[in-house]
Symmetry: C2
Subunit: 288 residues, 2 copies
């Protein structure tokens, strides 16, 4: 009999995992909250079977919690109860310290992990085959993590085409604050500043003239507010640290403009021009 995986939550990440796991020979049992979602998930072939009853997970060898951060940090007692004690449990949350704190002691074979993949889409219609191919999947084991369970998650990640990494949870959360959570606030502040423009002629011109540079820089700031709040609230300290570094950096650029120090501004922009390819060595370049 094929191994059975449970996927809890069938949004973009959960649905994509369902598709890819099935294509690798897993029987995939989905668990969702609403009956309508269950029906769409089955119609889309995201899972082999689906239920709204946590008891459906009883035969699973592996359960992946693809839940929004707030539900992951405060799991439903019925879900906790239903997780098989000998199954490997992992999550896909974009913060790892709070997840470890919430889950250590709750299940002996829990592995905190985070596949870094995404599109702008969300919900049961968003799941996409091959989403994880070539993307990083990072785990943040600590002293309580079962090494055999960790090896199971690694094997699944590699089988799905992911680049496997491990790190400390705090280091993961600070890195993700810098390259994922901070950009959301930086980008939202740009939209907010432009939105504050009260001169109707300037406002209309800004709308007429906004081009791909504005579109790119404002993209993540115009994203899902729930995701933004979940990131900031669950990774608060790291986000505040990132914001402080960001404010300092912006001040250096502003000071160069204020002082008409154009050689200084050129030097700063030469440095950022050189930095970008370094930080995007491994990223898919959607818009070069």
């Amino acid at each position: 009999m094929a191994a059975q995986a449970g996927v809890v939550g069938l949004g973009l990440i959960g649905g994509s995992l369902g598709l890819d796991l099935q294509s690798r020979g897993w029987r995939v049992q989905g668990l969702v909250h609403r009956q309508a979602t269950a029906e769409r998930a089955l119609a889309r072939g995201l899972v082999s079977a689906v239920s709204t009853d946590p008891a459906c997970l009883s035969g699973c060898d592996l359960v992946i919690l693809a839940l929004p951060i707030p539900l992951l940090l405060n799991p439903d007692p019925a879900l906790l109860e239903a997780l098989p004690r000998d199954a490997v449990i992992t999550d896909v949350g974009s913060v790892k310290k709070p997840v470890l704190e919430a889950w250590n002691g709750r299940h002996p074979r829990f592995v905190a992990s985070h596949p870094m993949a995404g599109t702008a889409a969300a919900g049961v219609e968003a799941g996409l085959a091959g989403l994880f191919q070539g993307r990083p999947w990072i785990a943040t084991p600590d002293a309580q993590t079962d090494p055999d369970a960790l090896a199971v998650v690694e094997a699944v990640a590699r089988d799905l085409g992911c680049h496997w990494l491990t790190s400390g949870a705090a280091q993961h959360d600070q890195a993700v604050a810098l390259i994922s959570h901070l950009p959301v606030l930086v980008s939202a502040a740009l939209l907010r500043a432009v939105g504050e423009e009260r001169d109707p002629e300037i406002r209309q011109l800004a709308i007429a003239l906004a081009s791909s540079g504005f579109a790119d820089t404002s993209r993540v700031g115009g994203g899902n507010p729930d995701l933004g709040v979940a990131m900031a609230s669950s990774n608060r300290e790291a986000v505040l640290k990132g914001l402080a570094a960001y404010r300092w950096s912006l001040e250096q650029l502003e000071e160069a403009v204020l002082r008409d120090n154009w050689p200084q501004l050129r030097q700063e922009l030469e440095r950022t021009q050189a930095l970008r390819p370094e930080f995007l060595r491994t990223a898919p370049e959607v818009n070069p």
Copy 2:
């Protein structure tokens, strides 16, 4: 005999204009600084004829100055001398107040204008047919602008498929500061903040985990430093005003995080989510 247009500078904008004007029946005379550029421009078919001698412009009915801002604001005396007095002269600079100040009185038929089009490419290899199709082309006439000359530039812009607009130069420059120049500094500050990370493990993780969100938000901050300096120095007051509005906006978001005021942060992010489509109604959405 077909009308003759001169294009001064054959980088992305000048080269693309050369291609499109020829396709609309113009004979296009290019003027460039270096012989090697002249040869490549001719080989690429950007122009009908090309020279490094400003005297080549003598037969032109229209001359488009597609020069970098610093050269546009401090034009070569030999170029000024060579511009036919009865030709219509226009520019493509992304700031308009300093251009009007530099050119009013220098040529009776000068029209300050700005086609809003671009790619990341630059130089004689960058010119692209159809670059202006569907894009805005804005002129900023003042009391000294010759209405017939303005009508000529409008006809050319519309013939190239542009959406034609006019506004005051100050309003143009403030709008462009908000949607084009400010994003460069906001985005550069993000790269600079991430680049400042000194913990080698966090730095390596940030590099490994940087994804499309970081790629998009950092794109314009990793662009051409000369362009960034030209924007900031020629549009200094508007850029500083934009930066002040931006700092205030970022502070509001940071304060919500600092005070654990998640309803406030959600409200802010709901607002930016609603603002983005409003400001990008007319922009080409490269990366939705």
